[in-house]
């Protein structure tokens, strides 16, 4: 049970002067149950990559295997793939269209051809998962706050019970409160349901707190792939491609350079706090 990308490339405008290689021979495996952060700046190919994972974009070269089967093989059901690999687009609240919250969330399961009871049960469950209780069911999606709309939109994908959940910058445009709520919600989902989660983000600081693994994209390639600690070791290279490690990484490295006994692999404020206290306590 995994998604495997084998030497995938995606070129658009082939043969014209505007040819762009959005993905350049990307090979990677997304095993079950992992929480992955996909990082890169605009135009690095990360959005193109995730749209390959549920077949919205077809690779121009290479192959993608879902649970060992090529998604481009004859007879492979794209519709089923899309229900297994749920993709939440950037600003997902822009796709809400029904007159009330509940009906909108039903849209996904309804497209799967489930019976009415199952559809409603799933919609209810998905809304609970994002923390929207039944009192909102009847509300028009357009009366909700920005953060609530977004959670309803995420529920719209969750209601399809995907095994893999991909979120394209789910915190874009939200304030710190809205951002924390969404990320905590996603982390909880990962923990409770054991879903594979791919979180696309610009922000290393957001991602470092939650994920098991970080994939950094640049110019259509996966340039770094490892645990947050492994990836942030390359903080100087990350800077060169217009990304930055969390501020705390810089602090720790600066302290280390000055002769403070501290482990350079620290990625969160909490870890830094403990290490600094210990360093000061043990001095001399």
């Amino acid at each position: 049970m995994a998604i495997e990308l084998k030497d995938v490339s995606y070129v658009y405008g082939a043969g014209t002067p505007m040819e762009v290689r959005a993905l350049d021979h990307v090979s990677l495996t997304i095993p079950d149950g992992q929480f992955i952060g996909l990082i890169g700046h605009t135009g690095s190919g990360k959005s193109t990559l995730i749209q390959h994972l549920n077949g919205l974009i077809k690779a121009t070269e290479g192959d993608i295997l879902y649970n060992g089967r090529s998604i481009y093989a004859e007879g492979f059901s794209m519709k089923e793939l899309r229900s297994k690999v749920g993709l939440v687009f950037q600003y997902p609240e822009h796709q809400l269209f029904e007159t009330d919250v509940f009906t909108d969330v039903c849209f996904g399961p309804k497209n799967l051809g489930l019976d009415k009871e199952e559809i409603q049960a799933r919609a209810r469950e998905a809304l609970e998962l994002v923390g929207m209780d039944a009192s909102y069911d009847e509300a028009s999606p357009f009366e909700l706050s920005g953060g609530q709309k977004r959670r309803v939109a995420i529920a719209g994908v969750l209601a399809m019970k995907p095994e893999v959940l991909i979120l394209d910058e789910p915190t874009a445009g939200l304030d710190p409160k809205g951002r924390d709520e969404i990320l905590d919600q996603v982390a909880l989902l990962h923990k409770e349901r054991g879903n594979t989660v791919v979180l696309v983000s610009h922000s290393m600081e957001d991602v470092a707190k939650y994920v098991d693994r970080i994939i950094v994209m640049n110019h259509g390639r996966a340039v770094f792939d490892g645990t947050p600690k492994e990836v942030f070791r390359h903080y100087k290279e990350l800077e060169q491609i217009g990304l930055a490690a969390p501020q705390v990484t810089y602090i720790v490295h600066r302290l280390k350079e000055q002769g403070f006994p501290i482990d350079g692999d620290i990625t969160t404020v909490e870890e830094a706090r403990r290490a600094i206290l210990e360093g000061i306590r043990n001095r001399k």
Binding site: L56, K79, L87, F89, H94, F97, G156
Partner: protein, 267 residues
């Protein structure tokens, strides 16, 4: 497919055509459209083909780019060709079944109709390809300035047009995004009968309308913040002024029109 619509798009490059006064180009488009209804002989079509080819050449817009715009209107083209092909009565019948008759005249008619439509679309898309919407607006506004006396809100209409044109590419992108997002939720736009397909458009159209309204509100506020208050006391960054090249263009148009009229009455 929606990305193929070139009507209303501007193609950035340097050419004489780009530099012409928009009023000249508006007139030129009008002349060309009229001329297409005048042509009814092979020579007439050949002349307009040469004329069109020359203008395309002058515009420095790649032919492939203009041709791509035809794809979007393919269906319209096929329907009208079909009508002409099957439903024209004539003496030289080739095939006949039920109410359909393919006649020699029908083929000729269909062929001319196709040429006429293709030329019309190519000719008028050249206008927008070489003129920025703002220039187009200015051109319309000045060109139709006399209508203000009849209390036609010329400035407002042309401003609306230009804004519509500016937002077409943005809305096209947006449609694409919404479609993909709904497909990710299992929506299917390709199968089912006509009614089912029409119904499947609701999840695209509703978000699209909502976002258009939101954009309109935002834009209105941004325009107001930049002191927009209609056409009164407004100055122009690029005032319209006829140059020698415009006079020359009018001359060329006059010759072309004269030739087309001459062809029609003589042959």
């Amino acid at each position: 497919m929606i990305r193929d619509i070139t009507i209303g798009q501007y193609y950035q490059t340097e050419s004489v055509l780009h530099r012409l006064d928009p009023r000249t180009k508006l007139m030129g488009t009008l002349v060309f459209i009229i001329s297409m209804f005048l042509a009814d002989t092979w020579i007439g079509y050949a002349l307009s083909a040469v004329y069109l080819a020359a203008i395309i050449r002058l515009s420095h817009v790649p032919v492939s780019f203009i041709v791509r715009g035809l794809k979007a209107v393919m269906i319209l083209l096929l329907i009208s060709v079909g009508f002409n092909l099957f439903l024209t009565n004539g003496e030289h019948e080739i095939i006949s079944f039920w109410i359909f008759h393919i006649t020699w005249e029908g083929i000729r008619q269909a062929f001319f109709m196709a040429i006429r439509l293709i030329f019309l679309i190519m000719g008028s898309s050249l206008m927008t390809l070489t003129t920025t919407p703002n220039q187009l607006t200015d051109g319309l506004e000045t060109g139709l300035g006399w209508m203000k006396k009849l209390h036609v809100p010329v400035h407002e209409i042309s401003m609306m047009m230009s804004i519509a044109l500016r937002f077409i590419p943005i809305l096209v992108d947006e449609t694409d995004k919404i479609m993909k997002a709904q497909m990710a939720r299992g929506a299917d736009f390709e199968s089912g009968n006509l009614i089912e397909r029409a119904k499947s458009l609701v999840p695209i159209l509703v978000p699209l309308f909502i976002s258009s309204f939101r954009r309109a509100t935002d834009l209105a506020m941004a325009m107001e913040a930049r002191c927009y208050h209609g056409g009164e006391n407004r100055t122009r960054m690029k005032p319209l002024r006829y140059e020698n090249r415009d006079r020359l263009a009018y001359l060329v148009m006059a010759f072309y029109m004269a030739a087309m009229i001459a062809l029609r009455s003589l042959l």
